[in-house]
């Protein structure tokens, strides 16, 4: 072995614990996932699993519960991530640019606390908020507006709002950082030229932070696709599957119905969608590495 080669090996040595850990516990399960998605592996009873080709996927696309979960995942992602977290986060960040310091610090503190709380705790707080006897109905009552049992009538909307409550801080922090990078001469110059607030936002601010908008949208979509605990605590995916997004569907098929093979096929689809988003995210960052 040449000396140069052995030196580069010594230098690469410190990376090996990470590589081993990542191969065994991350790459391994992903490969295993790709394998059992094509088998009929079950939790109990069965002696051996056998290769079933694309059967699981065929079953999935003919399964109404699966299509329902796909639809709800879309609704959940669009309402809570793309519309809710993203817009509210940008709005908060923009208001913070203008607001006075105490108000800014107070609001930031509250929004970030919601984000730092453990997922399950956030689930309880929002469960209490949306329950029939909860705070939301108490407020609606005060305003003489009709109340209802939100977790039963509109569960997907309730969990979407819960995800907005919990996740908005992330977008707010991304956009605050991005807005702080805009040189203030540019906005001032536009102001001198007589551009009003909306036009300044549309023609100057938004184009200047477009890369942050792109990365933020990717990241919050990925985070939202993998939300499990929040929905589990609030509704368990119910009632009658009305808030069952793909992760909850996957869990139910794999463990409550013992169809590990089928559940994994759904997981693989989720993983593929996630990977596509990841690749787009990498393209957005390509100048960084």
């Amino acid at each position: 072995m040449s000396r140069k080669r052995s030196r580069s090996l010594t230098r690469a040595l410190p990376v090996s614990p990470s590589v081993v850990l990542l191969l065994l516990f991350l790459a391994g399960p992903i490969a295993y996932c790709a394998y059992i998605a094509f088998t009929d592996l079950q939790l109990t009873g069965q002696a051996e699993d056998s290769f079933v080709g694309f059967d699981n996927f065929r079953t999935a696309f003919g399964d109404e519960a699966f299509l329902n979960a796909v639809w709800l995942t879309l609704v959940f992602t669009v309402i809570s991530a793309l519309l809710g977290q993203n817009t509210l986060g940008l709005g908060l960040a923009m208001l913070m640019q203008r607001a006075s310091k105490p108000v800014r610090t107070l609001t930031g503190g509250i929004v970030v606390t919601a984000w730092v709380l453990p997922e399950v705790v956030a689930g309880f707080l929002l469960y209490a908020f949306f329950r029939r006897e909860g705070t939301l109905n108490a407020i609606l009552d005060q305003l003489h507006l009709p109340t209802q049992n939100w977790l039963f009538t509109l569960p997907i909307l309730a969990v979407s709002f819960a995800n907005v409550w919990r996740g908005t801080a992330f977008s707010m922090l991304v956009y605050s950082a991005a807005l702080n990078e805009i040189p203030k001469e540019i906005t001032e110059a536009a102001e001198v030229d007589g551009a009003g607030g909306w036009r300044r936002m549309w023609h100057i601010t938004l184009p200047m932070i477009r890369r942050s908008i792109g990365t933020n949208l990717m990241l919050i979509t990925l985070q939202t696709l993998s939300v499990f605990g929040l929905i589990w605590v609030m509704t368990r995916g119910g009632p009658g599957g009305k808030s069952q997004t793909l992760p909850l569907f996957m869990y139910e098929e794999a463990f409550q119905k013992s169809m590990i093979g089928y559940g994994t096929a759904v997981a693989l689809l989720l993983l593929v969608v996630g990977s596509l988003f990841s690749v787009v995210y990498l393209r957005l960052l390509r100048t960084e590495v």
Partner: protein, 294 residues
């Protein structure tokens, strides 16, 4: 609480007199009012948990407590409800974090210090892995753990926690390490120090805040994680607080809202404190500064 450093840094209003200052004041008041309305909405669920924890007869609404009591805390601060789950959480997350930080620091060193044609593909893979939905692989991880007898073991869960947090930790650590000038080590190398010595004696001490951020971030992510222990642990005695709180809620939370609120506060306080501790260093609380900037 002051997590918002980057916002505090935001621009001052220009002192020029181009537009009437009264308009500025109006703008500021409007922005303040808007923020306060949003803050009031966001604070409602938080207000519920704080008020209910102190309320002797809490229900599901935000209301003025019927008196202040610490009975709810008294009731949950028992080994069975609080101390054992928190200790389990501490073991799992402490173990996972330690493993993550050590592996990430070792891996980041050659990536930051030596040029190699493997660096770029490796970093791209790492970055790709940071955004994979971990939730999606939990079913196969469960099946795999059953096969290799790691299911329902603390060490198996710790290994998985570390592996799932590693990509991001390596990425952050490498970015922080890039900020430490190389010249300092070159002197040490001339004196015959090995790579490991210069990493331990020179680089890591100089990037203390960076190491703190990676440590706290990993710990907070694991502390709040519900799905991983929920899937990989089975014995109730081994369950961390994130899972046991759910049983508590299912079994008696339906009546004991005050106790549930008190437990939520006890369980959440460590991560909130840790977050406040490093928020300044993260630059606007922005944990992903390395990954998302631009």
């Amino acid at each position: 609480m002051t997590p918002m450093t980057s916002m505090d840094r935001s621009r001052r209003y220009p002192s020029s007199l181009r537009s009437p200052s009264s308009r500025r004041t109006t703008h500021r008041l409007a922005a303040d009012a808007g923020l306060l309305v949003l803050a009031a909405t966001f604070v409602l669920p938080l207000a519920w948990v704080v008020l209910s924890a102190l309320d002797p007869s809490a229900n599901l609404r935000v209301k003025v407590p019927d008196g202040i009591t610490l009975d709810n805390f008294d009731a949950v601060l028992t080994p069975e409800i609080t101390f054992t789950p928190l200790l389990n959480s501490l073991l799992l997350c402490g173990g996972g974090t330690a493993l993550t930080v050590v592996c990430a620091a070792l891996a980041a060193y050659p990536l930051s210090r030596f040029r190699s044609r493997f660096n770029r593909p490796f970093l791209l893979t790492i970055l790709f892995a940071t955004s994979l939905p971990i939730t999606a692989i939990m079913v196969p991880v469960y099946a795999l753990f059953v096969r290799v007898n790691l299911i329902d073991t603390m060490e198996g869960t710790i290994f998985f926690f570390a592996a799932s947090q590693l990509p991001f930790a390596i990425w952050l650590m490498k970015n922080f390490m890039d900020g430490v000038p190389k010249e300092l080590e070159e002197a040490a190398w001339t004196d015959g120090a090995s790579s490991l010595q210069s990493l331990l004696r020179i680089v890591l001490p100089l990037m203390g805040p960076g190491v703190a951020v990676v440590t706290v971030f990993s710990f907070v992510m694991m502390w709040g994680n519900f799905f991983v222990p929920f899937m990989l642990l089975l014995t109730p005695d081994q369950m961390p607080a994130s899972v046991s709180i759910n049983d508590f809620f299912g079994n008696r939370g339906m009546v004991a809202y005050g106790q549930l609120a008190a437990f939520s506060i006890v369980y959440s306080t460590p991560v909130i404190l840790l977050y406040v501790l490093v928020a300044r260093r993260m630059g606007g609380g922005f944990a992903l500064s390395g990954a998302v900037k631009g």
